[in-house]
C-alpha cells in the first residue's frame, strides 16, 4: 500500500444522503400527491419536486425511461464509470486484507437477522437505555408523523435554523421540506450535500451524492448560491477541490458555531447501552452531534443492534465496504446526554415508515439488514450506466431496487419498474457485507408485481392484484408454458422455425415487444434442424 496514492474513497458520513432542497419522492399513503413534476432531464438529472412527509413516487418516470436519458449523457457516464471503478478496486483491496471477511459477513448477517426476529424486544430495551441516559425517545409510524414530531421539537427550542448531518432517513421522510414549511431553515453540512442543496439538485449516490457534478459546475454553484445562504464564496474562487472544500469550510463554520439545534441519523443504535453511532469522514457529523444544545436523531427502527460488542463486526465491515478504508476518519458514539460535553437535550425519533411492512415479508425482510455502505452501487453495471437519479428515490442502486418498492409499495410506475432494473448478475450479493441476496429479493418482488400476492401495507395484510401493465406478458408466459410442457408441441414449433428459415424468413426488425431486441441486435439465425431431430437421426433416440 502506498502512502500517497490511496485517495480515500468518498469522504463523508455514510449514514444517509442529503435531501435535495427541491427534490424528493416517498411514501404517499393518504398524503397529497400535488407536488412532483420530476422527469428525466436530457442531462440525466431528475428534478423532482419534494414535499414534506416524504418522496412522491409519482414525480418520477419509470426506470427504463429515466435510464434512457442517463445512458446518453456522456459526462454522467464518464463520472460514474470513474467513481465506481475507483471505489470498486479499492474496496476489493481493503476487504482482501481481512482473512476472516466471510466470517465477519456471516456474523453481521446473523446479528441483524436475530435483531429483526426480536425487534420489538430490542427497541424496548433501547428506549429504556436511552431514557435512563437522559435522552427522550419518540416513535413515528410514517413520514408525516416523524416530520410532525421533529418540527414540534425544533419549534419548542424557539430556533429558526438547524444544522444537519447527512441522513438518508430524513431525506426519505422529506424533513427539510417540512421544516421549511414551518419556517425553519435546515442546512445540509456534508460537502456533497451542500453541493446538492445549493444546486436544488438530487443526490445520485449514497456515498458520493454529487458524483454527477464536476468541479467547474461546483465552483459556479458556490459563486452564485453561497451568498444567498450565508457567507459567500471568495470572489476569486477557483475550481480546485482544495479551494472548493475551503470555501465550504468557511461557509459552514459560521453555521456550526452558532447552531443551537442539530439533526442527524445514525448508523447503529445499541439496545443494551442506548448508544448511538455515526460514522463519517469530514467532521461535519462531529460538529452537528457535539456543538448544538439540542440534538434530534431520526433513525429507522432496523438500525438497532443488541450489544455494544456487536459493533466489532460492523466497524470492520462498514468502512471497508463503503469508502474502502480500514477505518473512516471519524466515528462518534454517544449515550443519552453527558454533563458539560455535547448537547444537553437529546431526542431519538424511531421511524417505521414501511419498515414493519417490509419485515412482514419473509423473503423481502433481508433488505432491512442493509447498513447503507453503497458497495452494491459501485459494482452494479446497471447503476453505473443509469445513474442514481433513475431510481427515483433516496435509495439508489441495487439496494434501492429492493428497498424502495417495499417501503413505498408498488403502485407507481417507478416503484413497479425498480425490481426489473437488474440483470440479476449477482455482483451486489457478492459484495454485500450483510449478505443480502438482492437477486432473490428482486425476483420475489417481480413475482408480486406480475402475479400479485399477499403484502403488508400500513400494518395491514392485503392481497395485491397482478399489475395491469403485464397482462400481455402474462398471457404469453402462460402460452409458452403450455408449449414447453409438451415436447411434442415444442418439437413441432422448432421444426416450423427451421422450415421458415429454409424458406428465407430472417427478420432484421421485429414488431411489438421484440423491437426492443432488434433495435440494437440481430436475431440468431434458426438452424436447419433442432437438436432433438439431429439426436433422433444420429443416435436413434
Amino acid at each position: 500500500m502506498t502512502t500517497d496514492g490511496r485517495g480515500r474513497g468518498g469522504g463523508r458520513a455514510f449514514l444517509g444522503m442529503p435531501r435535495a432542497r427541491v427534490g424528493g419522492g416517498g411514501r404517499a399513503a393518504g398524503e397529497d400527491r400535488a407536488a412532483g413534476d420530476g422527469r428525466a432531464a436530457g442531462d440525466g438529472r431528475v428534478a423532482g419536486r419534494a414535499r414534506a412527509g416524504g418522496e412522491d413516487p409519482a414525480a418520477f418516470p419509470p426506470f427504463p425511461e429515466a435510464a434512457r436519458a442517463a445512458v446518453r449523457d456522456e459526462r454522467l457516464r464518464a463520472n460514474l464509470r470513474h467513481a465506481t471503478s475507483t471505489i470498486r478496486d479499492k474496496r476489493a483491496r481493503a476487504v482482501g486484507e481481512l482473512a476472516d471477511w466471510d466470517r465477519l459477513r456471516a456474523a453481521g448477517k446473523a446479528v441483524k437477522d436475530h435483531t429483526l426476529r426480536h425487534l420489538d424486544h430490542y427497541l424496548l430495551q433501547l428506549e429504556e437505555a436511552v431514557t435512563a441516559a437522559g435522552g427522550t425517545v419518540h416513535w413515528a409510524a410514517d413520514a408525516a408523523e416523524a416530520c410532525r414530531v421533529v418540527t414540534a421539537l425544533v419549534r419548542a427550542t424557539g430556533e429558526r435554523e438547524v444544522v444537519k448531518v447527512k441522513s438518508m432517513a430524513t431525506q426519505e421522510i422529506g424533513l427539510d421540506e417540512a421544516l421549511e414549511a414551518a419556517g425553519v431553515a435546515a442546512y445540509e453540512t456534508d460537502l456533497a450535500e451542500l453541493i446538492v442543496q445549493l444546486g436544488r439538485d438530487r443526490p445520485s449516490h449514497i456515498l458520493v451524492p454529487a458524483i454527477h457534478r464536476n468541479r467547474a459546475e461546483i465552483r459556479d454553484l458556490f459563486r452564485t448560491e453561497m451568498g444567498r445562504w450565508g457567507r459567500p464564496a471568495p470572489a476569486d474562487l477557483d475550481d480546485t477541490p482544495a479551494a472548493l472544500a475551503e470555501a465550504a469550510r468557511l461557509h459552514l463554520r459560521e453555521k456550526f458555531l452558532r447552531a443551537k439545534v442539530g439533526i442527524s441519523g445514525a448508523n447503529f443504535m445499541v439496545a443494551e447501552t442506548g448508544t448511538l453511532v455515526v460514522v463519517e469522514s469530514e467532521g461535519n457529523g462531529r460538529m452537528c452531534l457535539t456543538l448544538p444544545e439540542t440534538l434530534i436523531s431520526v433513525v429507522g427502527i432496523e438500525k438497532v443492534v443488541p450489544t455494544f460488542r456487536d459493533l466489532e463486526i460492523f466497524l470492520q465491515t462498514l468502512p471497508r465496504s463503503s469508502t474502502a478504508e480500514r477505518m473512516n476518519p471519524y466515528t462518534t458514539m454517544w449515550t443519552g446526554t453527558t454533563d458539560g460535553d455535547g448537547p444537553s437535550a437529546f431526542h431519538l425519533v424511531l421511524l417505521d415508515n414501511g419498515r414493519t411492512d417490509t419485515l412482514a415479508d419473509e423473503v423481502g425482510r433481508q433488505a432491512l439488514r442493509c447498513i447503507r455502505c453503497s458497495a452494491c452501487l459501485n459494482v452494479c453495471p446497471v447503476y453505473e450506466r443509469a445513474g442514481g437519479h433513475a431510481y427515483g428515490s433516496v435509495y439508489p442502486g441495487p439496494i434501492g431496487a429492493v428497498l424502495t418498492p417495499q417501503l413505498r409499495g408498488t403502485d407507481s410506475g417507478i416503484d413497479a419498474s425498480l425490481p426489473f432494473a437488474s440483470t440479476l448478475c449477482g455482483a451486489c450479493y457478492d459484495v454485500c457485507p450483510v449478505a443480502i441476496d438482492i437477486p432473490e429479493v428482486l425476483v420475489h418482488l417481480r413475482e408480486r408485481i406480475v402475479q400479485g400476492g399477499p403484502v403488508t401495507r400500513g400494518g395491514v395484510r392485503v392481497r395485491i392484484r397482478p399489475a395491469r401493465g403485464h397482462a400481455a406478458e402474462r398471457a404469453a408466459v402462460r402460452a409458452a408454458r403450455r408449449l414447453l410442457d409438451r415436447p411434442g408441441a415444442l418439437r413441432a414449433g422448432e421444426r416450423l422455425l427451421a422450415r421458415a428459415r429454409r424458406l428465407g424468413f430472417r427478420p432484421h426488425r421485429l414488431p411489438g415487444p421484440g423491437r426492443a431486441w432488434t433495435e440494437t441486435r440481430d436475431l440468431p439465425g434458426a438452424p436447419a434442424e433442432p437438436f432433438r431431430d439431429w439426436w433422433a437421426r444420429e443416435r436413434g433416440g
Binding site: G10, R253, M327, G459
Partner: protein, 214 residues
C-alpha cells in the same frame, strides 16, 4: 393506541410469534478473528504508526525526556499562538513551550474555541490494525469540542500500553456511557470528482506523538 404500541404490534404480527430472545439464541457464531496476525508490542506500535501515516496523520516518537521539546516544536512549526488544554493534561507535557494556554471551561463558547490555534490531548487507546485513536473524554482529553474546532490536533499515545491490535480488542476496554470519538487520520473529503482533500470541518492537521517508555 399510541404510535409506539402500533409499531410494536406491527412488528409482532410481522415476525409471527414474538418472544424475547432465548439466551442460547444470543449466541451468534463469532468465529471471526479477534486480531489479524500476532505481533510483539513493538510491532504493534510500528503498525499503528504505519497506518496513521498512511491516513495522512503526522507521526512522531518521543520518550518522556524528549516530549516537552517535541510538543514545543509541533506547536511552534505552524506558528500557534494559543493552545487549548484539557483539565487533566500532565503539566510537564507543555513545559517546553510558551504558547498561551487556554483552559477549557464549561462556559467556553464554540466561537472562542474557533480562535484557538491548536489543542494537545492524550487518548483512551489506539488501534493498530485500523490506525485509529479513540478519545473518551477523560481529563487528559477533555470535552469533544476541543479536539474538533481548532484546526490543529496533537494527540499523545502512550506506547505500547495504550495500543491494541484490533477493533474487537478495543471495544471491551471502552465505556459506552462516555462520549467516544474514533479518529483515523485528519478530516477528509473526496466529494469533488473523488479528489481527496484533507481537512474540511475537523482539524486539518493531526500530529500523533507515540510516547514510549524511557
Amino acid at each position: 393506541m399510541t404510535t409506539k404500541d402500533r409499531i410494536l404490534g406491527r412488528i409482532r404480527r410481522a415476525v409471527g410469534d414474538a418472544r424475547p430472545p432465548a439466551a442460547a439464541e444470543g449466541g451468534i457464531a463469532r468465529d471471526y478473528l479477534l486480531q489479524h496476525g500476532h505481533r510483539t508490542p513493538a510491532e504493534r506500535v510500528d503498525l499503528l504508526a504505519a497506518h496513521l501515516a498512511e491516513y495522512r496523520a503526522r507521526v512522531h516518537r518521543a520518550d518522556p525526556d524528549g516530549l516537552p521539546a517535541l510538543l514545543g516544536r509541533l506547536l511552534a512549526e505552524p506558528g500557534a499562538r494559543t493552545v487549548v488544554v484539557p483539565p487533566g493534561l500532565p503539566e510537564w507535557w507543555l513545559s517546553g513551550t510558551d504558547v498561551t494556554r487556554v483552559r477549557d471551561e464549561a462556559s467556553t463558547t464554540a466561537h472562542e474555541l474557533d480562535r484557538v490555534d491548536s489543542v494537545v490531548t492524550g487518548c483512551a487507546l489506539a488501534v493498530a490494525e485500523t490506525g485509529t485513536l479513540v478519545l473518551d473524554g477523560s481529563p487528559d482529553q477533555g470535552r469533544r469540542r476541543i479536539t474538533l474546532v481548532p484546526d490543529h490536533h496533537v494527540c499523545v499515545v502512550r506506547v505500547p500500553d495504550q495500543v491494541v491490535d484490533s477493533v474487537p480488542q478495543a471495544l471491551p476496554l471502552l465505556d459506552p456511557a462516555r462520549p467516544l470519538t474514533w479518529i483515523s487520520g485528519p478530516s477528509a473529503t473526496s466529494d469533488i470528482e473523488l479528489d481527496r482533500v484533507e481537512g474540511v470541518h475537523g482539524p486539518r492537521t493531526l500530529d500523533v506523538v507515540l510516547l514510549g517508555p524511557e
